[in-house]
Amino acid sequence: MFGIGFHGIMPEFYRKTIDLINKSEKPVISLDIPSGINADTGQIESSAVKAGLTITMELPKPGLFLPPAIDFTGKLEIAKLGYPPEITNNPELLINLLEEKDILPLIPSWPASAHKGSRGKILIIAGSKNYIGAPFLAAASGH
């Protein structure tokens, strides 16, 4: 219904249609982007199709990975359309996406006999008045 150029409020007819799709309990596949998502920001201003699978054309759009849209993208597949490398390798279009597989190899494994003294010491300089939650989580993940 709506593509990557969509932004703003959609007419009621489309909102009702999207509601029907989302309540259908049928497999939902979106092509390029689920209707209703802002492709650049991930914002959903009225309503959006909640896809089980999104097949995006050639280049993934930033909005597919950003909240709140990220919960509407579902599984993401990329369909190659045969864009020339001048476009697909254009540094102005490339954005880095940090994924679990990038982070996990950086976390060292330790022998089962490791104890708190053998894993080094971290100094956490963090927090201020009213900002105590994030430093707590940082300390917990260092544990």
Partner: protein, 49 residues
Amino acid sequence: MPETKNKSFSLSSLEDILKLTEKSDAVLLGPGMSQDEETKSLIKFLSKE
């Protein structure tokens, strides 16, 4: 640890912090250090060290 009037890290805590870093294998700077200007200067200084 000395603090600013906004209850964040102050520049005068620099020396104490540097002493602590010498005993550490890794240092995490942030999160939640606030937008206080004095704290920002401290963060800039510490990240250069």
